[in-house]
């Protein structure tokens, strides 16, 4: 397979591998398009967004305090309402107001933290000169989805990406799998924190007290199905249940614990006994048993095939060339899942440089690339939230553990395209009047700018119309 011209490769580097070209980016990539991308790959991981930097434990501790205040307010309300004796007012305001204020405070905290995290991440994406590095991190953040659909996980999605995903973006896949599977966000999102081995000491104690406890197999199943070997790997229900047993004890420090919000292993909820998962035996053991299963899954060749297939689908085509998947898979196996090497194999693969753009940008990629085209960045969460929500990609709200879809059919909907156009018109009204549209078209698309689009931009009646045509052109919508 022959490669396209250097000019075309520079445009592809910025738009297909990256997040859309900022002014000057394609020019910078022109000398050595592959080297431009290779230089972005680094062992120390992806960039960290400039949010408030709070860790998951800090967030959970603050959240627990707020909820405590809410509970106290509720009790106060009950006292005010239900006691004939004169209540001792703890606050000046009437109880009912205190309650709703505390409730609002909790909601406000969640909104403030998630908005701050999301904005910082979007600003990083809009600003970065290493956009391939960011795309790679975003791919894995979606691979290990944590969603606000579980409210308790909302405030730690940002910390999860910062702590579990980004530092390991170019480490071994095993490192990322372990970090993700032991992070408070994932343990909350997929219900692992409360899973109790039915024969564990904790279960026996609870049973004596007349309470029901037991396994929750949600995380075990999704690790197999989505994060590692994939749904076609041929595992059985027994494998899922066995894995869920091995994972019992993986939990989070509770509100009263000093290690609130951090990973803890609760030996007394761990299911005793040896386990057999996907034909492999695991000796009785505490935390190490679950970790051993995770390590075996990371090393499983089916995991290499599953994840490499997803990488190729994400970066290159909905139906990626089998030769490309094979290359990535081979490199993964050779290096023991070393993600920097897999990233470099993707850059080196000729199939990844086919000039025909097969992918449609997701709403996030589309919106970010529009800011990048003008060298700007979103100034507030409110610049992002309405458009992403109306295009079906509400911030931090993927609909299921499978994450956002990666196929054109899911995003190139009739309504979605009309909405993209309407948003573009508003964006154009704000930015286009002071810019030269022809120069913008060249800097945003380089050699990918088609003759019909260049002509349409040149012939537009207004700069706003020209800008909207550029951003809505097939080559800008695709990558």
């Amino acid at each position: 397979m022959s490669l396209p011209s250097k000019d075309m490769m520079a445009a592809i580097a910025a738009t297909r591998f990256g997040l859309g070209a900022r002014p000057g980016e394609i020019e910078a990539a022109r000398g050595d398009p592959r080297g431009f991308l290779q230089d972005q790959v680094r062992r120390e991981g992806a960039d960290i967004p400039k949010d408030d930097g709070e860790s998951a434990p800090v967030r959970y501790a603050a959240f627990a305090d707020l909820r405590q205040e809410r509970r106290a307010a509720r009790q106060e309300t009950r006292m005010v309402a239900g006691n004939d004796m004169k209540p001792i007012p703890l606050v000046d305001a009437p109880g009912a107001n205190a309650k709703s204020d505390a409730q609002k405070e909790v909601q406000r905290y969640i909104r403030q933290k998630t908005a701050g995290d999301f904005l910082a991440r979007a600003q990083l994406a809009a600003d970065t000169e290493a956009a391939f590095r960011e795309r790679w991190a975003l791919f894995f953040a979606n691979h290990f989805t944590v969603s606000q659909t579980k409210q308790a996980a909302s405030i730690v999605i940002g910390p999860f990406e910062r702590e579990a995903i980004r530092p390991h973006a170019f480490s071994r896949f095993e490192d990322m799998l372990l970090a993700a599977s032991t992070h408070a966000a994932m343990l909350t999102y997929l219900d692992q924190a409360q899973s109790v081995g039915p024969s564990s000491p904790a279960a026996r104690y609870q049973t004596r007290k007349g309470r029901r406890t037991g396994l929750n197999e949600n995380l075990a199943r999704e690790i197999l199905e989505l994060h590692t070997v994939g749904v076609d790997a041929g595992y059985s229900q027994a494998d899922v249940t066995e894995f869920a047993r091995a994972l019992t004890g993986f939990s989070i420090g509770r509100a009263q614990d000093p290690d609130i919000g951090a990973f803890v292993f609760r030996a007394n909820t761990h299911e005793p006994g040896a386990r057999s998962i996907l034909g492999k035996a695991y000796a009785q053991g505490g935390e190490d048993q679950g970790l051993a299963v995770l390590k075996a899954l990371a090393a499983d060749p089916r995991t290499a095939r599953h994840v490499c297939g997803k990488i190729a689908r994400h970066f290159v085509a909905d139906d990626p060339p089998p030769a490309l998947v094979k290359r990535l898979e081979t490199r993964w196996i050779e290096t023991g899942g070393q993600l920097d090497e897999v990233a470099k194999a993707l850059i080196a693969a000729p199939e990844a440089w086919d000039p025909t753009p097969a992918k449609i940008k997701t709403p996030y990629e589309f919106v970010i690339s529009t800011w990048r085209a003008v060298g700007g960045r979103p100034a507030s969460f409110e610049r992002l939230n309405p458009i992403l929500t109306s295009l079906g990609q509400k911030p931090f709200y993927p609909p299921s553990p499978k994450g956002w879809p990666d196929e054109a059919g899911a995003w190139a909907s009739p309504d979605g395209l009309v909405k993209r156009m309407q948003w573009t018109q508003g964006f154009a009204a704000a930015v286009a009047d002071t810019r030269d549209p022809d120069a913008l078209a060249r800097s945003a698309l380089g050699a990918r700018l088609s003759e019909p689009t260049a002509r349409a931009v040149a012939r537009a009646e207004t700069r706003r119309e020209a800008f909207a045509l550029l951003v809505m052109s097939p080559e800008f919508q695709r990558r």
Binding site: L190, S195, N216, W411, A412, P414, D415, G416, V418
Partner: protein
């Protein structure tokens, strides 16, 4: 930016619905006068809806013990017969059931046994015997075989669900700013998209739909009764609120859901309105804290169905509604006040066209040896059989087409007859 939509009241509730994550879509066909035409609504409850909560078998001796604290208490349940009741949130469904206009299929499943949401939804929506059997949805193929006639598709929302995808292109619409028809941009873009097989047709359909939806909204403004194009409709509400949300949220959500149902009905009652509609409701994956979460979801489901019933008015007698899920959940409660992925679940079948009758399919019971793989409700009815029966007997789709083109390889799933 001005709001160009001519109907603030419709718009505002649709906007409210959108804020809850509601989306609606149609695929459809013209050439059917709406009044009098047979109508079908399919509700897809995503996440694995717990059949044992939807229609708790409170008379089954195994039920209370298996479910423990998350069992629906007999005194709260809405009685159907000696064995079954309905979840306390399903008050509208229960009222219909008492009139013989709602029935349950308590042990139904797709042919998929993997207990994966994504595989099972795929199988449910494609109507195939196994996963990745087709790229198109069975409702879309139904329209294909029901042709000829100009087909019309609308999906209100931004992503097309698989059940609607296929040769009959689904358009989509959701409340937005409206398109300025005086602007040149849409025309210029259509020109740029000429050579793009994906963007070209999708954008053209988007513009048409926007115009149609605005016309429909105008016509609909005070009461749901007038005219558009024929077809199928789709709505979805992603997991919107947390388990057991606050009562005020629930009330608002219920009202939005009811209005969504009556709007769907309004579209379907228009002269060339959609004959087939689909709607989806997310958030049924109740691994933990099931009691509150499922009460919220079923409250919305009940409200949507209530809105449909009310909005369809005299057309209710020509309508069948089927509410299904990709799989049921474990018969036993898990350790976190919830249930894990299972197999058999409950389908609701409603409509003025229904014949009176008991449960649809057999009840395998919850006796331990009767459980599927010693954990789930054992399915006794293939979901495709239910769908096939409705297509043939209710919509009058040609039996051979149903067997050969809509549900390929479904000979083992015999069509359920005698429902209407």
């Amino acid at each position: 930016m001005t709001d160009r939509s001519p109907s603030p009241s419709r718009r505002s509730f649709l906007a409210a619905a959108a804020s809850l994550g509601v989306a609606v879509s149609f695929v459809g066909r013209q050439a059917h006068a709406a009044d009098g035409a047979k109508k079908l609504v399919v509700v897809v409850c995503r996440g694995g809806m717990d059949g044992l909560s939807v229609a708790p078998p409170i008379g089954d001796p195994g039920y209370a013990a298996l479910r423990g604290a998350i069992a629906i208490r007999p005194e709260e349940a809405l009685e159907l017969d000696d064995t079954f009741a309905l979840h306390p949130s399903l008050t509208s469904v229960h009222a219909l059931a008492r009139q013989g206009q709602a029935r349950i299929a308590p042990a139904i499943a797709t042919p998929d046994r993997a207990r994966s949401h994504f595989e099972a939804q795929d199988v449910l929506e494609t109507g195939e015997a196994k996963v990745y059997g087709a790229d198109s949805g069975w409702l879309n193929r139904t329209l294909e075989v029901m042709g000829p006639g100009k087909t019309e598709a609308l999906s209100v929302g931004t992503t097309a669900p698989l059940i609607l995808r296929g040769k009959v292109q689904a358009a989509s619409w959701s409340p937005g700013k409206g398109v300025d028809e005086a602007a040149r941009l849409p025309t210029l873009l259509q020109d740029l998209y000429k050579g793009d097989p994906l963007l070209g047709p999708a954008f053209a359909r988007g513009l048409e739909t926007e115009a149609m939806a605005q016309a429909a909204m105008t016509a609909l403004a005070p009461a749901p009764a007038s005219a558009t194009e024929g077809g199928m409709m789709m709505a979805s509400t992603p997991a919107m609120s947390q388990p057991g949300g606050r009562p005020a949220d629930n009330r608002q959500g219920r009202e939005a859901a009811r209005k969504l149902g009556s709007t769907l009905a309004g579209f379907m009652r228009q002269a060339d309105g959609p004959q087939i509609a689909a709607l989806s409701l997310d958030g049924f994956d109740t691994h933990a804290g099931q009691v509150g979460q499922i009460a919220t979801r079923l409250t919305y489901l009940d409200a949507v169905l209530d809105g449909l019933h009310e909005g369809l008015g005299p057309e209710w007698k020509n309508t069948v509604v089927v509410a299904v899920t990709e799989f049921g959940r474990t018969a036993r409660a898990n350790g976190t006040g919830g249930t894990d992925h299972g197999t058999g679940s409950t389908a609701l079948v409603l409509g003025g066209a229904l014949k009176r009758g008991g449960i649809i399919g057999d009840w395998p019971t919850l006796a331990e040896p009767a459980l599927f793989e010693n954990r789930d409700v054992a399915p006794t009815l293939d979901m495709r059989g239910l769908f096939k029966g409705v297509l043939i007997d209710h919509l009058g789709v040609d039996r051979a087409d149903v067997e050969k083109k809509v549900f390929v390889d479904s000979a083992g799933a015999k069509a359920v007859t005698g429902l209407v």
